[in-house]
Amino acid sequence: MAGIAALTLAGCQDKSGGGSEAGGASRDQIRAVGSSTVYPFTTAVAEQFARKNAGFKAPIVESTGTGAGMKLFCAGVGAQFPDIENASRRIKKSEVEDCAKNGVKQIIEVQIGIDGIALAESKAGPAMALTQEDIYKALAAEPYGKPQTAKTWKDVNPSLPATAIRVLGPPPTSGTRDAFAELILDKGCNADPAMAALKKTDADKHKAICTKVREDGAYVESGENDNLIVQKLEANPDSVGIFGYSFLEENADKLRGIAIKGVVPTYETIASYQYPGARPLYIYVKGAHLTAIPGLKQFVAEYASAWGPDGYLKRRGLIAAPADVRAKNAEIATKLTPFDPAQAE
């Protein structure tokens, strides 16, 4: 793999003077890759950007998933590498290092808003109210290091109905699953002081116990297609689905959000981070491309104008970040201040 990458780079440098047509040595439209959660927002901005700026071509947006997108984004500087990475989580330290190794040193991080990971059931369902501990105990492969025995929600918590545990959710390759593990399972796991202590002594074991999901059929991996989960929930009112908040909002006449610790997923509870499943969404812009790719600066500015509570991204299901976060990121978007690699975890 490294050999191929090196070859490509060498080939690209050879041709950069020639300006070959097929090599894409120059490009007149923006290319974005990355998260499927951010995809609908970036495409909406791309469309609006193309309508408002008649001189620029519409940007190309590819939905590859956050992790695969980061690999493409960090592969190097040049016309064949994307300019923008859509991310449903923050860039990792290893990714920053990978980027730096390939010459991608200037990265601009912009938080575009908040997304909520909603747990939902059919309107005909039993109207459950859960806590992170309940969810962790019901879904972990080995809850608190002990074998999983729960068959119904009642086994987990006697106040819950005696319906079989059946949760439809994203596969491990999805950014939504990462966030679900981090925001819900991990929190539920750490409710046990022994687990919180284990995190300090043996982080790997802690991760395995706290985020590994059972594989005996109670958790159904439903691919990346959230519409499918909505259909299945309608057909099986006893099951629970995990997906992005925008799907819950769009299907509000069929589905009901499940309260976690008494907080129902709504626009307000997610915007204030009261709902435990709230997570920030980002775009990363390649600093070295800002002057080379026409319209990239204007595109970032267009994004900043769209993410407010009155912006058109709200209608697409994006939840606006608090006013101070928006102000800070709007400043980054206009001044294009690079992100400090030391901040990455």
Binding site: I4, I60, V61, S63, D226, N251, A252
Partner: protein, 434 residues
Amino acid sequence: MNSTLVAGVPATGAEPPAPARTPTDWRGAKMQGSIRRRYAAERRFRLLGLGAVLLSAGFLVFLLWTMVGNGARGFTQTELRLDVDFPASTLMIDPAALAGPGKDAALAGADIEGATTAAATAAFGTDGERLLSDGAWLTVRDAIAADPTILRRKAQIWVPAATNIDLAAKGDAAPEDEAAYARLDKAGVTKTGLNLTFLKNADSTDPTLVGVWGALKGSLLTMFVTIVLAFPVGVLSALYLEEYAPRNRWTDLIEVSINNLAAVPSIIFGLLGLAVFLNFMDMPRSAPIVGGLTLALMTMPVIVIAGRNAIKSVPPSIRDAALGIGASRVQVVFHHVLPLALPGILTGTIIGMARALGETAPLLMIGMRAFIASPPGGLTEPATVLPVQIFLWSDEVSRGFVEKTSAAIIVLLVFLMLMNGIAIYLRNRFERRW
């Protein structure tokens, strides 16, 4: 009855008397039972065959029924009549400027979106803009561009309705949208007609503005590259292997390799395309030329195998006769063998092309699953193809995309049927019997 002999035994008296045989008793219970079993087996087999045909026809009917049932609505669109009072609006465009070359700049500079929103509020109440599609102002802009004189008067413009209203008109929406539609319908400002946008636009984020043309054109360009490469290479390989190549261990090895290649899962070709065309040869990502090259690799072995079988089935007597009257090898091949083998080769080619047309996996690897808002202009411009477009739409949040997905499937099926139809026509035209 007695004179009836068992068939095949000659009834000549000269033969020595055969050992005494009891003639078959056709009316006997045993024989009658056996005959009944025989007929029953015939009937059973016929019914089983008929059942198999009916079952597969049933699946096809079910598929078409659900697709047409869901997708037919995707080809229609609800429009609302918007009364725009241009002289009273905040729109600042000089009609004279629209006549000159500065037309685009003048249109881009004006706040048509704001004027459309204002007109919607005036016409339909405070939430009026929510009833219109996000792209309603584009229709208004086009109307102004087509006839600048409307800026001097009040005009009635039919603009696309929001996707909720569109679904309500088709009877599949939340109760409040149904109520809003009923109110509009009563006022007589709605109409539902053929959705031309769907046939001439490319991808969009708003289901009222999406179109299938971008993906269809991408598919056509990709298929063009595939056939231009795979057909000549495949047919020439088949001809060489059948007519010229010596039979030895090397040609056996090549034959086995080609058969293996035809059975390789398509995703592997995608990875190959990624490594060779994008990473090594530095070709543009998401371009139809790369998609076509990748699919040509996948289709070629199918054409070679079908071509070899078709060439093999040309009777050797035809070759011998042609050689016998002094034709050269090339003349034999091009005047006799190839025309006779062509129907078979074409059938194989179309099957290979149909498979390539429906292929998604390898194209995902080379970046053809992107959001592309304008139809591709050439072979190196970013494009997507029909099956990938269907895959992308099936994952969209907005409910309006459900019917658009089914409509795109119908377009793909029609395209496939056209291809198969051409194949059958060509086969019948070239077919010769002897």
